[in-house]
Symmetry: D3
Subunit: 318 residues, 6 copies
């Protein structure tokens, strides 16, 4: 793999960070009909969609605000020294066009888009969107065999249904993904789970299928290095998806989300967990549930963009 200047982001030394049409990390905008599309190795994709949201809506505005905030991201990782944009060809592939008034139609559109990327050998880094986004993405990426998953979140998203039988919401994606064979439950680890509970239905499902839940109290008690050793062991070296719900982070650090739970990690810890993913076989990753209407200062989006950069480095740090 070599570096192609076309795929380099614009530097803040040349053009001030507030200038220019905002793309993810100031990368070139390479839509599927662009002549360089087939040269992309890692595609940053927006999924502006929140029809699965049962509580406060807003993640449909996530990709645009993440793009804006990501223009503050520079080219080099401060700890690992990685320069991801020189390692592989990265590009902003634009947004998948959802249908905000039709859940099934939207899921089909998303799966189709990611199927194209996957077929082209590209790995996606997604900016959601609510957490239901992960399901149609996984339908494309795990078409052939079930994936493992490292899942950062305050919720398990393993419920069966809402409101008397509604199967597709942002509280059910991974129940569906396990049922559909997209994820191998024994290779799923969910980290940071907390908050008041309806009941234990989701935990019972996890226990029955072998999903490992690490609640926040255990997370803090053991410390990040120890927890992440276990996480890496659970997913092993086989293909793995990383799903990062911004509500994993404490809502004071990330208020711009729909279903916050107090008592979570701070922003340093939010980055640290990503740095412990180096070496995994990551086939795709997402940053979901960033909800700009509840992010008055824009700080959530900036943290989300910073995490996306960490995820990108983790995807390349094999």
């Amino acid at each position: 793999m070599t570096s192609d200047p076309f795929f380099h982001p614009v530097s803040g030394f040349d053009l001030p960070r507030f200038a220019g049409v905002p793309t993810f990390m100031r990368l070139p905008h390479v839509a599927p009909d662009h002549p360089r599309f087939s040269d992309v190795d890692v595609g940053l994709v927006g999924v502006p969609w929140d029809s699965g949201t049962t509580n406060r809506p807003g993640p449909r505005h996530g990709p645009r605000q993440l793009r804006d905030a990501s223009t503050m991201i520079r080219a080099q990782h401060p700890v690992s020294g990685m320069r991801p944009f020189e390692q592989v060809n990265c590009a902003d592939l634009g947004d998948v066009g959802p249908n905000p008034a039709d859940i099934q139609d939207s899921m089909t559109r998303i799966t189709d888009f990611y199927t194209t990327l996957h077929a082209a050998g590209m790995r996606p880094l997604t900016a959601g969107g609510d957490h239901l986004t992960s399901l149609p993405v996984l339908r494309a990426l795990a078409k052939d065999s079930a994936l493992g998953m490292v899942h950062f979140d305050s919720h398990t998203d393993l419920f069966n249904s809402y409101f008397g039988g509604t199967m597709f919401t942002h509280g059910t994606p991974f129940r569906r993904a396990v049922e559909e064979g997209l994820l191998d439950p024994k290779r799923i680890v969910q980290i940071g789970i907390r908050g008041t509970m309806y009941d234990s239905e989701d935990r019972d499902f996890a226990a029955a299928t072998g999903i490992r839940i690490i609640p926040i109290e255990e997370f803090f008690a053991r410390g990040i290095p120890d927890v992440m050793i276990e996480a890496r062991e659970i997913v092993g070296s086989a293909p793995t998806y990383v799903s990062y719900d911004i509500d994993f982070v404490d809502p004071t650090f990330a208020p711009g989300t729909g279903t916050p739970e107090v008592g979570g990690p701070n922003s340093f810890q939010a980055l640290q967990v990503c740095r412990e993913l180096y070496g995994l076989n990551i086939v795709g990753a997402d940053m979901v549930e960033v909800s700009p209407p509840f992010d008055e200062s824009g700080g959530t989006a900036f943290l989300g963009a910073s995490i996306m950069f960490e995820l990108l480095c983790a995807m390349l740090a094999r």
Copy 2:
């Protein structure tokens, strides 16, 4: 009609306006299972639902914020001197429980709720919800015969479909209502229409069916009294519905909405149009598209609540 103290709102002279569990206009909360339910004449109902929203979401939070703001409303109209809460029994009937992840299920729930009210001889004053809310409400109220409608809005909401065939969005309710025979197009007047246009499809439908559109330029040029004489003539004395989209008002006065259009009426004019409805045969009314996530100061909700009080008086001023 006599006054029953049970149905009187709490006065700000007795309990400060910021105190107490917030119900619409500090009226008693009388859910359908309450013993006094059958005594209600005008029911204030919340429909916290925005699944038809194609743009910026949020009206699902409207009823709660309208309740909060409405605790600032006192008992007497400053111009007509009407004291509506002494004229008929008014109550807060609570919210219709929607299914935020299933449009059809939600529409059924709404129509069922309003069918019950309608059967009980009650007239509803609704706090939406996005504008698709009006459709399931009309299905209950216009079950027997088509209604006329005075419609305040910046958009016609007469489009056929969105996103390649989606028929139920907040841009299509009145197209559907006309097609379903719920509204008599010749007795519909739409006031305040403005903003950049996709094309003329909605205007063509209006022209073909006889719906009268009064754009904002005509509204300002003729003045409210003249425009409202025409509006009253169009709907006549037959049963009429009043639908008031908060985006009728200029977005500076009502920023808390999803699809604003600049250049609209101010807040005095927003009240004035309601005072010109006195004498009509109003079978129900709604205030829709109040979107708290975009209403940082709460001013939109307060204006919405003030308009609801005006609509209530108009419903009783025969």
Copy 3:
């Protein structure tokens, strides 16, 4: 009267408007113990106090924010061409120190402060504070004989009591002032009154004592010049106080206040009414009910400061 450079405000051409310790209109800070105190003709005073507030608190923060915003005010009136700071000696006299947990103590402190000013022949321009502020000020200014009053507001503030007998709130100051002989009710005009009403108790008191109320509907229908001719006739050439409640203005233009009423004048009209006060015998004026916690953009304070400049010019335009 001649101009003394000591009393000139700092120009934005010399020191940028955002720089410097903020005093009212960038005037010198001349506390009562300052050697130039006795040379002041018009004293700008802050009364950071809101203990009379029955609804949303905050005007205690008004003077500081008005000072901050007033650093945007320049030296010359755009229409009359007046340069008030060259006409008489103006100064920021600082704040009266209130006791936020004791209403009577605070009223005594305020009356004492203004008695000192009045005795020194100074005319005060006050930045409140809630509307109860006007009462202790009037106790100092009208010690000898009852004053007339031009009162801009959406409320009459003529109620007898709240909460079962509480006589001193921001809804009662002018009832008290009339009872105490501080104001001559036949020389009071209240302009802009609107909003839903508890009942007609205040209007009955006005009718019984001869206070003239001009509701907002009449205000808009007749136009400002005509209304203000009547207002000037009512107060005549005898000593007159001007009390300006920021909630006179529509809450979209002035959201930072505790008891807003929609449907009021815009900001141009808010200035215009002051320009129609020229020639009156104004012994003092106040700008009250600016509540910074509800003024997120600071626009209310800037409007309030702009009105204070208009009031200052009106005080000098004999």
Copy 4:
């Protein structure tokens, strides 16, 4: 103790969290005149009052915003597994109606309300209000014998007077309570004290009477488990009150308060301290100083509501 379905909160699986008239934790609203009033075991009460506030006002709006935020609370504790609403009958008893312009009248009203609850054998969980609220509550609860108190705060609230002799402010309640024999100073522990100081008057009073102050530096140095062992030893098994000032928490996590002090606990620690109260003999608890006008994102109220749920569990965890 058995569970009565009447007293169960509405589940978010049935009615979305944003729907419905907001009561504390979606419990039934059982005012004192409600037929089930006498069946309540733990009453959640709002005291919308801030007349004791010497600095930035706003806690009068606390109860309403806490109700709104508390609709996000579910039925089960994530760590202890407790389901408090199934353990005892909990209800929202509504607000005590204060008199915002009369401190003594308000204190009488509050003490009367709590005397009724106490007499009925109910334990109160209060949503303030500023910290002066605790005094009239204690007058009802400690009528018979002095209580112990675990007090989380950044201030001691042990000052003698303000502004030259004012004895009742939110900086003096516990000085008064000790003087009135409502609290046993030797059974008081104050945790989290910090911030710049006027002088040492309050610390001297504490030292003289035996009140134990644990400043934030000691709190962080020793760690929560160790500190809380000492706290439990201080209050012992005798009746104890828990008073939780939201400004105990760092103002970044809880900006919505009037007198913040930087350098406090984070939101995880804010919950943790409550979990260390299990086993105490808690006769009542309060959450005070939540000030919505300074809580733009609503995060403070959500944290406050989350802490109220923790306090509720602690009250039941004997």
Copy 5:
């Protein structure tokens, strides 16, 4: 002139308005090195620059927020029925890269960029930037002969210098432009001027050179049609520039700006004045002083984008 689909904006019926990389009005992004650059007729350009700002900074963020808001603009004008994107080839040309720490360097960069456009026969519609932006743009457009100008603003921007001799600020551009022969003062009309004044230096310059100033009082008294007849006569049929400072509009409608003046036009009037420009020979136009840090709701940017659409139509309506 024919329409080329490449230059059509993306429709909200196909892709929701919140989706996609945001370009001005959802037009294609055609940077100078793009193969279709030479086919552009009207270029929308961002100038993210505010180094000339003497008061509150922020317009450097204007272009990005205007792009975001402009995704709400549709294809057809509601009154004239014009469909500008089908009339000529419009494109987003991206931003001119300024040097935020060097005024002269930035002016050179801007003039160079616009010289290229001008040489290519393109007409620019600029999104500033503070008002100093207009000067380097005019240096490119008026290289050959002086232009006329219709200038909407609350300030004349005709001052000679600030801070003891600084010649290039946002308060001096048109003084410089007249001195440099870029504008013909007899063909300049400034509309909406208002606000407190330092002195009359700017008015004296206008009077001496023949610039026509229409203050806001005259604007309101005569009405828009009459004022604009005069404006059109002043500039005549010769090449004319239109400069629109968002602070022309009342700050309640457009709070997001650095030097607001209360008492201005509302948003309907803000559009109306543009519709009175039809038929002029407009060689370029700008929308300046939109300052996102002071535009919390985003309403200023949306109004600014709406005005840009009006200006675009006016540029094409010959």
Copy 6:
């Protein structure tokens, strides 16, 4: 050194914190022409200037907001018990008047002001302003010999130039200061450095000259006491400057800044590092990059003011 009552701040027990013209920590305002100027020992100075800002502007508004927030600071340090205002004469010296449109002119003005202070034997505590502010201050303070520096920041500010050769920005002050011999690089320690990097140019310069950089990962791993022992050893007992960029603190705790980097210290740690400076020979200190337009809640300014009090104590704790 004795205490002079003239230099004591106003107590919140006498005048509520929200009252009065806001000066730094409620100290007397002693401008250079004030008769007591020569008696000042430590001068608090505002430098409202941000012309060196390459990203989001705003620090020009810092001094005013820091003054406002600092009225919450009381007289005694909670841990050391120091009462700085009784130790030496402290005063608010007002602001240096910058020229917002001319960087070199502004730097000259700043250096002149500080040269006067320095000549008078006064030590300055500065409220910036962006980080370029430190350079002209150092030119005054280090005129005679190079200083050491403890520098808290997330950036090194050691770059050579921006935008193709611009040498004076807020990213270059300490490169210039070393080159100009104002700072001894071997006595510089930079603490808290983090965030994505352009490249390693700044680190290479540090390595080449002997500047010690302690990145945030090392800071957290070693703990504050250990890090600060090293910091004190680096600067030793010779004259030292302390420069505190508010973006050292995590942006959730200090959102009001222009170039945030996530993953920093919390507010307790932000204070703690200052308490570890006791005993150093501090000749001046600054708090820079507080940007009110991005500090919606005012929390950043309050933290900044709290840190200024800590720095003041550190300056006196020899």
